[in-house]
Symmetry: C2
DNA sequence: TTTAGCACTCAACTTATCCAAGTGCTAAGA
DNA sequence: TCTTAGCACTTGGATAAGTTGAGTGCTAAA
């Protein structure tokens, strides 16, 4: 298929591909004139474009789309790459956040693009403990633990006039009421019943509620990691400074990125150029995939690169990576549950 | 003085300055020919350069040096800027790390350059508490508190066969031995006497020592913050991608940056272009200053920008900022000590 | 010591020219 | 009907040549 050859050539060379060069690359023997005719047809269909009236052809978004949907087959991952993944991921005994952060880095190194990893959904995880640890004179640390081992802390000063016993009582109350509940539920309760009950023990419960709410929100937040930010400088060749800035700003806004990465089904999904809803990314492509960790929810891994990325290799890599990551995390949790 | 006028003109316009334009700007009435003669003299001294044989003049590093050392006087800070500083810095009750991080951001916003803040030296702070907080089945959080209110935590899994009482005993031991000692001393003890003593209580003390060491190191580490990373893209006009990458990499390597920022005396110090020891920064200028927080040590603030930055304004700003920051932190600690 | 005048230099911009790669189209061949 | 050789045409990009303007150094007069 001609389109396939065009995409492959263009993604690997980055130069508009002409009929003559293409003819020599095709498996069967055809003349450049034949290729030209075919190309004219593909252009008619809107699958390829010319950059100017006498230039070679470049795949359009629609062309990439067709290629990705019907033509591409994932490259088998090079055994070398597999080694890199495996060896980077084991070694020291890592905590879950570290595994996930590390994953973003490995994936970005392997691809020279920018990689994202999102931790398995935490909204579904349950509160398994909340306590206050006195640190000094009037300083206290709030510690929240979830049932999949996440720990969130925050220190704060205790205002004059609040006694240790009062706080103790409140913590006991909280634990009695909400241990074992999903974080989302607890967040709701925090708006409704909890304040009333606390009012029995504390004169001004606002401060305490804020702390508890803060820690809870932090724990419930989807945490996502970015690897290979700097690679952006390589593959966004002709972006001006302002564009780059808004791109980088976007990468740091976790809620916006959640939107971008959120619409992911179970299969590996490829969004190309203008297909991406976020305008800032309209010149790039995004490969997203979920990985599921048994009963512990699903996370997302994603890869951002230029529209002219070698899709076959990238899709292969993302596929292999999500498997490996899922496996590691399953192991991790198995270990932890036991 | 002509040099002063040249520097001022060049830093504000970025274009080599010619004799005619300069003559019209000077306070006294002189002809361009006179200015040309003066310029030739300055060039003889190596204070200014031509970019090509018939271009206007540009200050050399030596020229900037002279300007900064003898000619510049700090601009009084615009009342507007002062407002920005003050209003950004108060508001919510912030923790010390947040104040310092925020400072880097404010300073970078104000200047459109890249700002650094280093927390007052922690090596001198003392250990005021270490404890282990059980979180779940076999998960424990190590908490370390210093006498100026810093808290450092780390969670870890307890291996099978180690009992709670044993750990309790060890923690009690640690607290008896090292509470009140400077962190640096504790780090030394960790190499010498502590392991022997712990051996009484734990069969394999290595794991525990590692945890304690980790937390301790984290707490003793100079923490520094960077604000306005992205501004780098604006003012490093003609740097290629590779240079930018190594710059950004440098910004994230806290030990390298410690070197760069470390050699700072009490006065506001300006390092220009090739004067900076780190090669990567040879096309930039760095303004550094310490701020001292009474008995709580000294921190550093710094500003990285192009060699052709408007030094008078920047020096003024850094000066004002360090005062304000010192004041805030004094307040903070006063509050905390009480 | 300052300044007017003048010849000279050079980067940056504009035009002109050429070239290679590529296209569309036509007409002949399988 | 599909393929292909041939050919005129288009176009971006690279190179060369001309133009301009800001700026310089130097000389000689005030």
């Amino acid at each position: 298929m001609i389109l396939k050859a065009i995409v492959r050539d263009y993604t690997s060379n980055g130069v508009p591909v002409g009929s003559k060069a293409l003819a020599s690359q095709l498996p069967m023997h055809v003349s450049s004139a034949t290729v030209r005719n075919e190309m004219a047809a593909l252009e008619e269909l809107g699958l390829i474009n010319k950059t100017h009236s006498s230039s070679g052809r470049v795949p359009s978004v629609k062309g990439y789309r067709y290629y990705v949907d019907y033509l591409v087959q994932p490259d088998p991952v090079k055994s070398n790459d597999i080694d890199v993944i495996k060896s980077s991921l084991d070694g020291q005994f890592l905590k879950i956040d570290e595994i996930i952060e590390l994953s973003a880095n490995i994936l970005s190194n392997l691809t020279s693009y920018t990689a994202f990893t999102v931790k398995p959904e935490l909204k579904e995880s349950r509160l398994s403990g909340f306590r206050l640890v006195p640190l000094g004179k009037r300083q206290v640390m709030a510690v929240l633990v979830t049932d999949n081992g996440d720990v969130e802390t925050q220190t704060f000063g205790v205002p004059q006039g609040v006694e240790g016993e009062q706080l103790e009582a409140v913590v006991r109350l909280i634990n009695d009421q909400v241990i074992g509940q999903p974080l989302a539920t607890v967040l709701e309760l925090l708006q409704t019943s909890i304040p009333l009950q606390i009012a029995h023990y504390l004169q001004s419960p606002d401060g305490f509620l804020k702390i508890f709410g803060d820690v809870l929100t932090k724990a419930a937040q989807e945490r996502f990691f970015v690897g290979g930010r700097l690679n952006l400088l390589n593959y966004s060749d002709n972006a001006d400074v302002e564009e780059l800035k808004s791109l980088y700003t976007l990468l740091d806004r976790s809620d916006d990125m959640a939107d971008v990465l959120g619409q992911t089904g179970d299969a590996i999904q490829v969004q190309i150029g203008s297909e991406i809803t976020n305008k800032i990314l309209r010149d790039y492509s995004l490969i997203t995939a979920t990985y599921s960790v048994g009963g512990h929810g699903k996370g997302v891994i994603a890869l951002l690169g230029p529209t002219r990325m070698p899709y076959s290799r990238m899709i292969g890599l993302v596929g292999a990576f999500r498997q490996e990551l899922a496996k590691r995390l399953m192991d991790y949790y198995r270990n932890f549950d036991e």
